[in-house]
Symmetry: C2
Subunit: 749 residues, 2 copies
């Protein structure tokens, strides 16, 4: 029973992570909304007079100021923050070691850069960076030594190991999504499906708590503050505010609705694959171009200039496109801010979507209801407002002809291309909102086509022919087409729309989009991982050589292992150790042991570089005599001390190693490694099938795997890098082309 | 790219499983509803006249007929069908081999037994059996050789292996839940969280498809048929029908609502733990009692009589309890069948919940709306109707005082005790509906207390004080308190109520209930697994000795391994093999190999009993000469033939083994096992920590793990049974008490 209790500190940390991530999520959204509002308030007068040029100048000027700071931060202050940090987090959780992704600099840089980038008007969202921020918070809180006012707060040293580190990062990432979407379960599942490589039900259940806390915190703070002004409703959660794209009227559905859903699913897969293809192509081009610039400062400036260029394009499209559209009268919708106070009724406030349309008035009709003669600009509503608001418009039911083909198509083309260009430029930006938005646009077009053919239906049995419904289905399909998510995406869609009724449609579209997309290429995140050369190990190995899948059962562990392993002996010379550490960068070494002088040396276990470093730092454990019988004279280092997963000071270590190598007295000193070896280290035999080797490596979450022969003698070692598909392709491809497939008989020689 | 295509048959099978499970789910619900309606129609006249005794006689008589068939089927026809089959499915997916759970007899027995048990009026639901039925369908479709009209349909022999078997069973089980709850994502997550022990994203994604198909099929058939009568709306999915307990008005929520939610969570944990405790206690008592009966037929009859007794108790409570309650006038609710045709308005049909209340009439008022002076009996609505309908009443919002304390408390006490008694008796029954129902009852009581204190609130800010809301929270909390589910439960609640707004309340209650419950005991399913002695391996080992958790890092693989392993040689004598197979029941054997005559025999790989049997059946592979150099003369058996995981005919095998053992010619025959060995079989060294050994065994999904020493010689073997916690407790407990903790120095001797 005490097992659960002993874990209280873990729950505490999870709770704190949730609260802080929730607060950060609230801040991001509030600041973005506030800045956007401020920006457009400034140009309100120009735009109402139809002065597009001045509007352009102002909006671009403000945008430029923002983007220079945003991009500058990423480029000069924290290079790892760009673009969304999500692939890096995924790689880290898979076991790759990536520098600087979890420090305070990256946190500040990502936060500010993301806020400013979204506020500047670029077609991007804050979700990707939010996941990264959540992960940083999870890492920071569990792995740091907090100090407040010079006092050392209790730090959670027992979490300073890779497993727990991963767990907290996973929870933090989930909380990030939970907070921005008000979707605790969706966030949790997103992390489990896409972000985390290792997880079990215990971690899921802690992440569940963390996500809940994050969503609760965001809701609680949002309930009382709107644009940083106290609204006097602290602790009152309105469904309107909580559910991002609340669908109020569920539609009874005909089975015929599955036909357009199938179409949308396929379309989503095609467009999604195209998006991934374009994005990766653009990113590759970008990398190539920047690599041609030799000087670092120049290269960085070029990156900044690229963001500026994207902004100029975006702002130009945003400001001038509405010029070509007429004003559409507002029927009952779009509804404006629900918090509008009744006293404003006669003098309605201006909204971005009204753009240069004549300001309407609201009159109270004879039956007490309010009537308005407002009108709005379709293109402004779709492009000038931020993506979130746009999605709300598109998802709305019962607004069959609010948006016409022209505005939808225009927005689709510009949004698709510009968001593809934006993702990957040197700002911290996310793709979730653009993905939902692009999908919603073509979904609504399909809905509109149906309405055009069949007319606006009011009959109960045909109510499903509603562009709002298909906008939601389309959004899910495009999201799936790009990210290839299934379960978490479905749950997120339910959580943000509160529409279980169209669940089956969404599931179908999501499934088809993933299938069609998978036909063409990998998901965006996988492609980015590959592009960034992050060593990521899939759950199962897929190796392709000359367009043919290789069956790894036909290869053996020996085909990929590194030969000439540096092995250690149980009793090892200090000078030798120091030399080894100084000259290699391996992170682990097999230790061998000879029980009788005439026997061969067999594999006993492994020891990591870190453990060796800690041992070498403590001269007390050295043994002075070389004789075999004085084994137990040196004191042992405690488990606690060995276990802490922080590298000792790098400089001191180098100095120490140098001394050990050169000072002749250490030639005569030895260390007994036996108490510190990981004796439960798995090994595989050289003839093990490569498939099995990969599965063992991946499912046990190893970093190095010793390869032994039938007599348990070390013959090679396999590391994470040997198993990434690129490496496998190369090694195995070479072998296959020279027809050197090992026959199994060889084994018994 | 072709990898995805090659899997088309897998998707096909998944789809077919979904369609069939969906149809079965539809049938179960329809038949149950139909039978219940029929039953009560029969006694309608008696009950309307207030003749309780005759009602009791009739209802009991019909119930008895049903329960005798239901229980008789389970007891005499398919012993494994009882009670819900869920623990057996969980055990199977964990790797335990359990006989007869996936055959056609069990299917028929479970189906009929479940339908009749629920229809008879027992306090149980069809969900547990539905999961089992789904699993059987998944197993049957993928593993059988279908024959229609004497024609052999193409069978999917490539799925005849344990991994795929498990995958299809998992998908089928998920589809079962998806179908009965119309909750595709919930079903999927339920399977992943509770049912499946091994899964990856690929399986999740196939299960997703299977669940979607199942939910779609159920919806599609339900849309056109209601009580087996065509309703003329084929393919029209009404939200009313699809969303089981649809909450139509979302409530804006105050943060104060979290206080009762916390209370409900704790209460759910306490009551859930109590329920598990009682249920296990009763089951143990039951087992003990039945085991005292020596004669099988008598024991079976006793089991049947027990079910009859439970039924008598239940029916008596159901029929007579409403006698003590007055009629409550219907306000606007409960709404009756939405499919009621307009022409019935003036002469409303009788409903079970009206019981002996005077039949009301509906009049059309001056404003065109319909007014009714109907009244209903609270206890009848809660107890006499089936649980599903009861939950609908309890979840309904805006019906603050529809049910009073008296009826709620009475129903709670009876339902809690009787459902606890029912679960485990010899019928196929599920606990999901009873769990939701019990929780909804006390949740509503808590809500009612709030209403009593604060009054019925109509103010926007206090609208959350609604007993319907807390009924839903309570239902989730009790479900979690008993089953300890978290993620899947939350998603199921959203899918069956379409209320994302109260998600945070539900999450909080679920979390607390699980925490409090875990404090007292294990989840019901884990307890049942233990009670039924199904060898289940948790993801992580928890071994408790004298109320203290043992740290398995302190023990080694050698502490639990079986000594005196029967090893085979690469070249083995037929007579010896036959003898070995005849005399042991081991399912796998290590194969050893000696490369040079003077060397020790080292571990090379393993071979399973099944493979040996297949080999022995094919005399062609035997080698006649004992000389070493004639190795390659015997033909090889193809991989396909060896791989098929079906045991050859048992009788033939026994006969064959007998002949091989006795006939002297086989003493001189040999078989070269080398081509058939699994050479990628993992082994651990005897000094491996037990924790690590367990993790390796569990995460690689092994059935037997060879233990070797430093020279790679076989010293022992570990099987699944050696690792279940009971076994570990015994072995390690013994060791600890005799203080024989191995010191690590021993290793180096």
């Amino acid at each position: 029973e005490s097992k659960a209790l002993m874990d209280w500190d873990r729950w505490l940390v999870m709770g704190i992570i949730g609260i802080i991530v929730g607060t950060v999520g609230f801040l991001i959204h509030q600041i973005i909304d506030y800045l956007i509002k401020l920006k457009w308030e400034l140009v309100k007068n120009y735009i109402q007079k139809g002065n597009f040029h001045m509007t352009w100048l102002y909006i671009l000027g403000i945008g430029l100021a923002m983007i220079i700071v945003s991009s500058g931060l990423v480029v000069f202050f924290c290079p790892t923050g760009a673009p969304s940090g999500l692939p890096e987090v995924i790689g880290f959780l898979n076991g790759a070691s990536i520098q600087h992704i979890f420090n305070i600099r990256t946190f500040v840089g990502t936060f500010v850069s993301c806020v400013l980038a979204v506020a500047s008007g670029l077609f991007c969202g804050p979700e990707g960076p939010m996941i990264h921020l959540g992960a940083i918070i999870g890492y920071g809180l569990s792995q740091s030594k907090p100090k407040i006012l010079g006092m050392n707060l209790p730090s959670f040293t027992r979490f300073w190991n890779s497993a727990d580190k991963r767990n907290f990062v996973t929870a933090g990432a989930g909380a990030g999504i939970a907070s921005v979407f008000h979707a605790p379960v969706g966030g949790l599942l997103f992390t489990l499906e896409e972000v985390a490589s290792f997880w079990d039900i215990k971690l899921a259940w802690q992440t569940f708590f963390c996500c809940m806390t994050a969503a609760f915190t965001t809701d609680l703070i949002s309930s009382s503050l709107c644009g940083f002004v106290y609204r006097g409703q602290f602790g009152f959660f309105k469904a309107e505010m909580r559910i991002l794209f609340w669908v109020k009227n569920l539609l009874d559905m005909s089975v015929l609705a599955f036909v357009p859903a199938i179409f949308l699913g396929i379309l989503g897969g095609l467009l999604g694959a195209l998006f991934v293809f374009l994005n990766i192509r653009i990113n590759r081009l970008r990398m190539w171009f920047f690599n041609t610039i030799p000087k670092t400062s120049l290269r960085k400036t070029a990156k900044l200039l690229e963001s500026v260029l994207v902004l100029v394009l975006t702002i130009t499209a945003t400001v001038y496109l509405p010029y070509f559209f007429h004003c559409t009268p507002v029927k009952n919708l779009p509804e404006f801010e629900p918090s509008t106070k009744p006293e404003n009724i006669s003098q309605p406030t201006w909204h971005i979507s009204e753009y240069n349309c004549p300001l309407g008035t609201i009159q109270t009709g004879p039956d007490g209801a309010n009537y308005s003669n407002r009108s709005f600009n379709e293109a402004a509503a779709l492009l000038a407002e931020n993506g979130m608001r746009g999605i709300t418009y598109l998802f709305r039911r019962g607004t069959h002809e609010e948006f016409g083909y022209a505005s939808l198509f225009t927005a689709l083309v510009f949004y698709f291309l510009l968001s593809c260009l934006t993702a990957g430029s040197a700002i911290a930006s996310g793709l979730v909102i653009p993905m939902l938005y692009t999908g919603a646009l073509y979904g609504r077009i399909v809905g509109l086509i149906l309405v055009s053919i069949l007319g606006v239906q009011t009959d109960e049995h045909s109510a499903w022919i509603d562009p709002g419904l298909f906008a939601a289905v389309g959004a899910a399909s495009f999201f799936s087409g790009v990210s290839r998510l299934t379960i978490s995406l479905t749950v997120i869609m339910v959580e943000i729309t509160n529409d279980v009724q169209s669940l089956l449609l969404i599931m179908l579209a999501v499934m088809l989009a993933k299938m069609v997309g998978d036909w063409f290429n990998m998901s965006l995140y996988s492609s980015l991982l590959k592009l960034k050369s992050i060593p990521y190990l899939d759950a199962e190995p897929f190796v392709c050589h000359r367009k043919k899948w290789l069956n790894l059962e036909l290869f053996a562990a020996r085909d990929v292992m590194k030969l000439h392993v540096r092995v250690l002996h149980v009793r090892e010379n200090i000078a030798f150790l120091a030399q080894l550490l100084a000259n290699t960068s391996h992170s682990g070494f097999p230790v061998v042991y000879k029980s009788k002088p005439d026997q061969a040396e067999v594999f006993l276990g492994t020891i990591t570089r870190l453990e060796l470093c800690v041992l070498l730092e403590n001269e007390a454990v050295f043994e002075k005599e070389t004789t075999e019988d004085s084994e137990s004279c040196a004191p042992l280092l405690s488990y606690q001390k060995i276990r802490v997963e922080k590298l000792p000071n790098q400089q001191r270590m180098t100095m120490l190693l140098g001394r050990y190598t050169t000072d002749p007295q250490y030639q005569q000193r030895f260390i007994n490694l036996e108490p510190y070896i990981n004796k439960s280290a798995v090994s595989v035999q050289a003839h093990f099938s490569l498939q099995r080797t990969y599965i063992i490596f991946r499912s046990l979450g190893l970093r190095h795997l010793t390869v032994v022969d039938l007599q348990n003698q070390v013959v090679g070692i396999i590391t994470r890098k040997d198993l990434i598909s690129l490496q496998l392709e190369e090694k195995l491809g070479l072998q296959q082309s020279s027809n050197q497939l090992h026959s199994d008989d060889e084994l018994l020689d």
